[in-house]
């Protein structure tokens, strides 16, 4: 029997493409009448360009990328919307053994505490500057990525100016571990399993993780070509339902083994199932024998992980402004806010009677404990969320947030 909808989607070999992969391979898409064809791509630029020219209807994308497209910050821009988020968390900051030894000499402990490791890194950076040595070089995956923004946020909150005191370069995820081992970079921020790869190789040490810099923070999304979404609302709704079921399947601990084996296949990650386990269990080997369990390290479904919060889009926008990628204006802010489409998510999932948040945006950092929130049909728990430096992000007070002059964290 022919499927009702044909959908072409691109993905990058990273674990957080798992929901798309499961939708295609475990049969959730087929059950919704969708023939979902996945194409593995090697660069985010390819993903963006192939969406722009219509080869892909949608794709696994960096959360800030569709916003950058709509703001015209990319060479081949197209109108792209975000009706679904692929997960929360999942990134780490990994440093070379030599850098870790230097940080440890300044008080860093293998506890992933962003404030402590950041202070140690700052002390080491000043010591190096004093000795006239070259600045440290860190890598992220793309200028318009959560990785770039969370690395910069962490450093800046610890009193390090990421634009002057270190160098930030772009390296594709599969090359990170090699670049670190070869000494071309001193550290990097990337999604799993590309941090565990360095730890297993004995060439790197995980210094801190996204889930401690900003709890339950947004990462990859499904970016959809707006023209396609408007022409095929039925197909998009069916896909969002398939992704919802796939995400729930991915989160279920009973399916970890099957999911790890699936993602390990050559056509997806081409890395052993054992390497997927730190991400799936939140139990992270940090390097040098240290291990730590991290709460909510990566969420593919729980805590409204798939809801495209407008506050997430707006936070990404503030970071684009903060780091000089775009000028702040009411029009730009509206473009960023309208990129994320919780209305489409709600419309697609409402018939299923699943838990839906009562609002489209939230004050990030307001929930200090896990909190049940009002929603129709079923229970939904959010948080704890929040930034490690204690700042609050209120999406209704963007101007105030952008006006903060001392982004540095209080010492202590």
């Amino acid at each position: 029997m022919a499927a009702e909808h044909q959908i072409n989607a691109g993905f990058i070999p990273l674990f957080d493409s798992a929901v798309l992969v499961a939708a295609s391979e475990i049969g959730f898409a087929a059950r919704e009448g969708i023939d979902l064809t996945l194409s593995r791509e090697t660069s985010w630029a390819n993903i963006r360009d192939r969406i722009a020219i219509g080869h892909f209807d949608l794709a696994h994308m960096l959360g800030p990328m569709p916003i950058a497209c709509n703001l015209g910050l990319t060479p081949l821009a197209s109108d792209t919307i975000v009706p679904f988020s692929l997960g929360l968390g999942g990134n780490c900051v990994t440093v070379s053994n030599a850098l870790w030894a230097g940080m440890a000499a300044h008080g860093a402990l293998p506890d992933l505490d962003p404030a402590r490791t950041g202070r140690a890194l700052g002390a080491l950076i000043r010591e190096r500057a004093h000795a006239g040595r070259d600045p440290l070089r860190f890598a992220v995956v793309h200028p318009h990525s959560g990785h770039n923004y969370e690395l910069r946020y962490w450093l800046a909150a610890c009193g390090i100016d990421p634009s002057r005191e270190i160098e930030i370069v772009i390296v594709p995820p599969p090359f990170m571990a090699d670049a670190l081992a070869a000494g071309r970079i001193d550290g990097y921020c990337v999604g799993e399993p590309w941090n565990s790869v360095s730890v297993v190789a004995g060439t790197g040490h995980i210094a801190t993780v996204k889930a401690t810099i900003w709890k339950t923070s947004p990462e990859k999304v499904v970016g959809v070509r707006k023209a396609w979404a408007e022409k095929h609302p039925g197909a998009l709704s069916a896909l969002l339902r398939a992704l919802h079921h796939a995400a729930r399947w991915c989160q279920d601990p009973a399916n970890r083994g099957e999911l790890a084996a699936l993602m390990a296949q050559p056509s997806f990650l081409d890395l052993s199932p054992a390497l997927q386990m730190p991400l799936l269990t939140g139990h992270l080997p940090l390097g040098g024998g240290a291990e730590l369990a991290v709460e909510d390290f990566f969420l593919s479904f729980d805590k409204a992980a798939n809801f495209p919060w407008k506050s997430h889009a707006l936070w990404f926008y503030t970071q684009m402004v903060r780091w000089g990628q775009v000028k702040h204006s009411a029009a730009h802010m509206a473009l960023a806010r309208d990129t994320y489409r919780p209305d489409l998510y709600r419309a697609a999932l409402k018939p299923l009677g699943v838990a839906l948040p009562g609002a489209n945006a939230k004050v990030e950092g307001a929930l200090t404990a896990a909190t049940p929130v009002g929603s129709a049909g079923a229970s939904l728990v959010l948080g704890p969320d929040g930034f490690f430096d204690g700042r609050i992000f209120d999406p209704d007070r963007i101007d105030d947030y952008l006006a903060i002059s001392d982004w540095a964290m209080p010492t202590g």
Binding site: L76, H142, P143, P174, R184
Partner: protein
């Protein structure tokens, strides 16, 4: 104003494909062609070469790095775009299909770049056709090898002539609606299991 000859930089990790593209560019009259296989230290090379156009393989994961470098670097003055300054949809699609992308580095007029991209596309296509034919030839050779081994097993174990052994393989394949190669492979595998010395 514009230089007579454009400086073209080709970035391709595949040496054979890069040299095919380079040859094509030279045939088309472009004398200033530089080929780079490894993006390590690319910023310095770009500063030395001052290319007008950079042609890069779409499959190169370092595209993101290159694009970011264009945005940041003072050396590279005006990285406009890829796929030739947002040229028409058809040529963009052709470029993507062929696996080629182009960056126009410094405000070049589109009509000067299009022939370069067209040439790169046709060379990329020619290369992938060549690679496909090579793969087909290789797999044909593999097929022949496994069929020869299966024939050998049949000739020894059932005292058949070579022709008769092949006829038996073909008859079995036809009756089971499978390929001769598959039947031969099963036979070779089975023989290997029965007698480790055989395979």
């Amino acid at each position: 104003m514009t230089r007579k000859s454009l400086a073209v930089l080709v970035i391709d990790e595949n040496h054979i494909r890069a040299s095919i593209i380079e040859a094509g560019l030279r045939e088309a009259g472009h004398e200033q062609v530089t080929v780079v296989h490894d993006v390590a230290g690319i910023a310095r090379r770009i500063a030395e070469i001052e290319p007008d156009v950079i042609v890069i393989d779409l499959e190169n994961p370092n595209r993101d790095m290159l694009e970011n470098m264009f945005q940041l670097s003072r050396v590279v003055k005006r990285p406009i775009a890829m796929f030739v300054d947002r040229s028409d949809q058809a040529s963009i699609e052709a470029a993507v299909e062929a696996g080629v992308s182009a960056y126009v580095v410094d405000g070049l007029r589109q009509e000067r770049v299009k022939p370069i991209l067209d040439m790169a596309i046709s060379r990329f296509n020619a290369f992938s056709r060549m690679a496909r034919e090579l793969e087909e030839a290789r797999s044909e050779l593999e097929n022949r090898k496994v069929i020869d081994r299966a024939k050998g097993i049949l000739m020894r174990s059932r005292s058949l002539s070579e022709d008769a052994a092949y006829a038996l393989l073909r008859k079995t394949a036809m009756s089971q609606n499978r390929k001769i190669r598959e039947i031969a492979q099963s036979l070779v595998t089975a023989a290997g299991l029965l007698d480790p010395g055989e395979s």
